[in-house]
Amino acid sequence: MIADLTRAERQWAMMILGALGIVGLAMAVAGRNDLLGIHGWIVLAAGLGGFIAFMRGKDAPEPSDDRLNEYYDAPTRLGIILTLLWGVVGMGAGLWVASLLAWPELTFDAAWASFGRLRPVHTSGVIFGFGGNALIATSFHVLQRTTRARLPDQISPWFVLLGYNLFCVIAASGYLMGLTQSKEYAEPEWYADIWLVVVWVVYFAIYMRTLARRKEPHIYVANWYYMAFILVVAILHIVNNLAVPVSFGSAKSYSLFSGVQDAMTQWWYGHNAVAFFLTAGFLGMMYYYLPKRAGRPIFSYRMSIISFWGITFMYMWAGSHHLHYTALPHWVQTLGMAFSVVLLVPSWASAGNALLTLNGAWHKVRDDAVLRFMALAAIFYGITTFEGSFMAIRAVNSLSHYTDWTIGHVHAGALGWVAMITFGSLYSIVPSMWKRPSLYSAKLVEVHFWLALSGTVVYVFAMWNSGVIQGLMWRTYTESGTLSYSFIDSLVAMHPYYIARAFGGLLFLLGALVALYNVVMTIRMPAPATEDAALDIPVQPALQAGE
């Protein structure tokens, strides 16, 4: 990595790392009587470690100009590995918290292993660790291929990737120590939030600078989705995290919002995190890798544009459906409900577009587990968006809200859509990224596919059953008008489903481990004798898995 950088870039990197180390030291000193201090030491270690690595490698020869004839894929390669590692960590934490609900003693009387601290490790681990790294890695890949331009420099992609992972480490370690600002999916405290803004601005700048250098006149639709993801996540993150720290030596901060305004801001953020982090970015992935793998252009390019504007306009207004029957004004609830229902149009336009693209390529879906991952992702995207629009209707929400149905819905999206499209996309680029003729084992991709599908189905059905039973038990009254069931009655009824859910999660985690093993073994395979043989990515998937 260091040898890729020019002399000037190495100097820049050392200045940035040195500054990072100084900031870490300042945090460690100012927060010496606070948990902030521990994070200071982590930041200092990251800055110092990087600085030392550069001191040792700074005298490597200047890279040749031949590099400018190639795309810059090294950050994508590391991003793929980090995606899979975070996947195992995040899904492992998920299995643990799922088991905690079935067997509460698994917390072992340790504060750090309590449900409230482990759960955000799971959610942030899979959304930001797994999903975020996948988005960064694939966006750099797609951006370069669709603009026919190399990334503008060799330092900002590393800054984004490594800086983002530093944020993820700070977030996860903070949760275990009990640091949270109690906003769902926005738990990290003020200093981590500021750092993420810096990283994110550089990320957006890479996108704009590469687009400015593009050789392809048209900006392919996948890039629009990726840009919407980057831009909107920045807006959401900044607004929802407006807060005042107790002092510069304290990790604790207080939000600028309170009461129902706080709730509305949080769920405007929360639902748009689903919309722009977990949907728009991954649609970008789908609109590039699915046609590529299927060897067929997208069914309707126009429909992909309509979907894009539909999603960007309408998702913004849907967040209030998280706050039905609360202090939020009734008309705001209705607004959120109406936009959620209309959202079905652009959502199904994308899902249908993906599936219609596969018309004429279904034999490939049958034979190639990599393409099958993507096809299944499109199906789950269709199912989940239909379910979501339906659940946002106030009357349906009165049954589903606060029950496991919501958890089932989220996981149909997260496992069935986000993780499947990610695994499919990663499998499709791993051989060319490491210049190997094929993946280590196509059989293991098949194994992973069936583990992932059965895990998702077991999980989602368990939560659907559990959620509906829970909702019904909470609204069943006796003749005298009192509740028929106590809360503990509903918990007892949930127990078998919680065990089934943990089992589904276990299957999914095993699949992720198989993926990590397969990718590591692919990297360790001997490189082909002539480089040219592996340089080209075939348009027809000649390297189909399963053949």
């Binding site: 669709t146 392809e216 590039y288 046609p291 390019y301 309509i306 008309w331």
Partner: protein, 57 residues
């Protein structure tokens, strides 16, 4: 103009409506403008074009 509940509701119901309808009309018109079709068809083929995996210089 007081910044109270009714004002915000009124603004949402008037400006908000026209803003979204106008943007939708612009997006739809641009997408279905006949002369744009050729460019879109070419763009759709971008991921599946057969050529070397390296930047153009």
């Amino acid at each position: 103009m007081p910044f109270d509940h009714d004002t915000v509701v009124g603004f949402s119901k008037s400006f908000g409506l026209f803003y979204l309808v106008t943007l939708s009309v612009i997006a739809l018109a641009w997408t279905y403008w006949p002369s744009n079709k050729k460019g879109f068809d070419e763009a759709a083929r971008l991921p599946v074009r057969e050529e070397e995996d390296r930047p153009w210089r």
